[in-house]
């Protein structure tokens, strides 16, 4: 087992990886009519840190789990799994096409995919069960859960959060991709009582920290510096569509694929991203 869990995290390498991942997603956007670019761009750094800074890897095997509860963000998982050789280039070429096995939401049974999501509010329950299953079997698998802020409106998320707190599931680490957009509107405008979200987790017995969700080293440090003994939530402030100016904070990019001209502009912009 190669233990990659350490305090050493190369922030520069993470920035370079995240640029590559975003460009790869943009490439795929030219193959299909619709895909979830902006939701993937908002959690790119979070997912990168989990795969490349937190999960322990032995070749393609890991005792840990990443569960993409915001299933619509799975493009970032696909491109990372491709990089790791767990998914093949042909898989991504056939994304959302007949004969392919990758859809716009992740599907359990596909290599590297830990749960079928897409319907929001399921991840917290699944992850709570997984984390408790590790404890029951005396294993130390870490369950990394990526939540959207919108799905924190689902009651089931809080049923799970309360139970994870009850069970003091230290091996459950949740990231809230706080991009402030649900499908219809800005969360902060439509549901101001949603904020501050971290307090709600804290009141259910979690440890919590707020970070800049586009700063990979800040995310990594938050996990490394945890006190422990409780489930951890990393409330990560993000920008939906991060990295492409015309996508940032613009709801239509939840689904839309860019035209060839828009694609070119996006590629031109994706040479450097500030956290």
């Amino acid at each position: 087992m190669s233990e990659t869990l350490s305090n050493v995290f190369d922030a520069g390498a993470a920035r370079r990886r995240c640029l590559t991942y975003r460009r790869r997603i943009l490439d795929i956007s030219q193959q299909v009519g619709a895909l979830h670019i902006a939701p993937a761009f908002s959690c790119t750094e979070i997912v990168d840190v989990v795969y490349n800074g937190l999960m322990r890897w032995d070749g393609e095997d890991t005792p840990d789990v990443i569960l993409m509860s915001k299933g619509h963000g799975c493009m970032i998982q696909y491109v990372i799994l491709e990089e790791k050789g767990i998914l093949l280039r042909e898989d991504l070429d056939l994304y959302c096409k007949p004969g392919g096995r990758l859809g716009a939401h992740p599907d359990y049974g596909v290599p590297g995919i830990s749960a079928s999501t897409g319907s929001l509010g399921h991840g917290m329950g699944l992850a709570t069960g997984m984390a408790y299953g590790e404890r029951l079997q005396d294993r130390d698998g870490q369950i990394y859960l990526v939540l959207s802020d919108g799905e924190c409106q689902e009651g089931s998320t809080w049923e799970g959060a309360m139970m994870a707190g009850n069970l003091a599931l230290e091996n459950l680490i949740a990231f809230v991709d706080l991009n402030d957009f649900s499908g219809l509107e800005r969360m902060s405008e439509g549901h101001p009582a949603f904020h501050p979200v971290i307090d709600k987790f804290l009141s259910f017995g979690w440890e919590g920290v707020e970070v800049n969700g586009h700063s990979a080293d800040e995310i990594h440090e938050a996990v490394m510096n945890r006190e422990g003994g409780k489930p951890l939530v990393v409330v990560s402030k993000t920008v939906k569509g991060k990295g492409v100016s015309y996508m940032e904070h613009v709801p239509i990019w939840h689904y839309r694929a860019p035209s060839p001209e828009e694609y070119k502009q996006a590629c031109d912009e994706l040479v450097e991203i500030s956290a």
Partner: protein
């Protein structure tokens, strides 16, 4: 039946560290209470939170455990329906959902506690197996099967407590996916499942008193259903009677009639089930069933057995 389930679960769980039970604020009966005391880590109470009960079971199964979800039938399927569908069925995980009090067993608690559509809802789900034993003895056999199977999710529909043993002298053992002949006759075939089987026995007695030779079948394996066995039964007998404690939509009665039509069987088929309505009635279980028309005398009359 509930107590037999609990005894068997304890018996299996004490030797199998993968077995665990997740309940949603239901007081554990009989041996489940003992399981909680002896193996507290493998007894989880999510509180009044059925979505997480199902979700946790899925996650536990995905990490190698063999979980049972356990509460009143309505709350195992209706409240957390999409979690049953997506987490268990879509992902095809070997989790057993134990629904206590299927049908109108909770006869004094009102419509919120009547699982009268549970068979239709559970059988509609791809990958879901549905098993409804008719007595404690059959409940024991199917519980042992549930605890070791790797096929996928199961809805195990149980009664409550106090059901008589009906199958101790059965002609055939229970087998998953097969109809089970409890007695074999030549003229009339009565097919039933679940605790209402006792009425099937009573109707069978009426037929015998009228000089008919009667087969009694337990269709505890509601899904997958033994289509082939049912067609053979339709061809073997002159008359088939289906008695079941479920709503008409999605009932086995309709399925048997469809099978008879497709097979070109000439067998006459009569079916009896709950009404397609919410009954604002209270009383004991038999009284609720009678309100739905499921009373032995009424069934016998409808079958011309008076």
């Amino acid at each position: 039946m509930r107590n037999k389930f609990a005894d068997v679960f304890y018996d299996l769980g004490k030797d199998d560290p993968k077995l665990c039970i997740v309940v949603a604020d239901i007081s554990p009966a009989g041996s489940i209470a003992k399981f909680r005391t002896d193996f507290p880590d493998r007894f989880v109470n999510t509180g009044v939170a059925e979505q997480i009960m199902i979700g946790m079971c899925a996650g536990l199964a995905q990490r190698g455990m063999r979980p049972f979800a356990y509460t009143i039938a309505t709350f195992t399927l209706y409240r957390p329906f999409e979690f049953v569908r997506d987490d268990l069925c879509y992902q095809n995980l070997p989790v057993t959902i134990v629904g206590i009090g299927g049908g109108v067993t909770y006869s004094t608690l009102g419509g919120t506690h009547h699982a009268q559509e549970d068979i239709a809802i559970a059988t509609a789900l791809p990958n879901m197996s549905v098993i409804a034993p008719c007595d404690p003895s059959e409940a024991e056999t199917v519980t042992r099967w549930c605890a070791t199977q790797t096929r996928g999710p199961v809805y195990l529909r149980l009664g409550k407590a106090g059901e008589p043993d009906l199958t101790l002298d059965a002609a055939e053992p229970w087998e998953f996916g097969k109809l089970r002949y409890l007695t074999k006759g030549d003229d009339v075939c009565i097919l039933s499942y679940g605790p209402i089987m006792k009425k099937a026995f009573e109707v069978a007695e009426r037929y015998r008193a009228a000089g008919q030779s009667v087969s009694l079948i337990s269709a505890a394996s509601v899904k997958p259903f033994d289509d082939e066995g049912a067609v053979a039964g339709l061809k073997r007998h002159k008359k088939m009677v289906v008695i079941e404690e479920t709503a008409p939509v999605g009932s086995l009665g309709l399925k048997i009639k469809a099978l008879a039509y497709e097979a070109g069987a000439t067998c006459d088929v009569s079916s009896f089930c709950l009404q397609d309505e919410f009954m604002h009635h209270y009383g004991n279980h038999d009284e609720l069933l009678a309100a739905h028309g499921l009373e032995t005398g009424a069934i016998a009359t409808a079958l011309g057995l008076d």
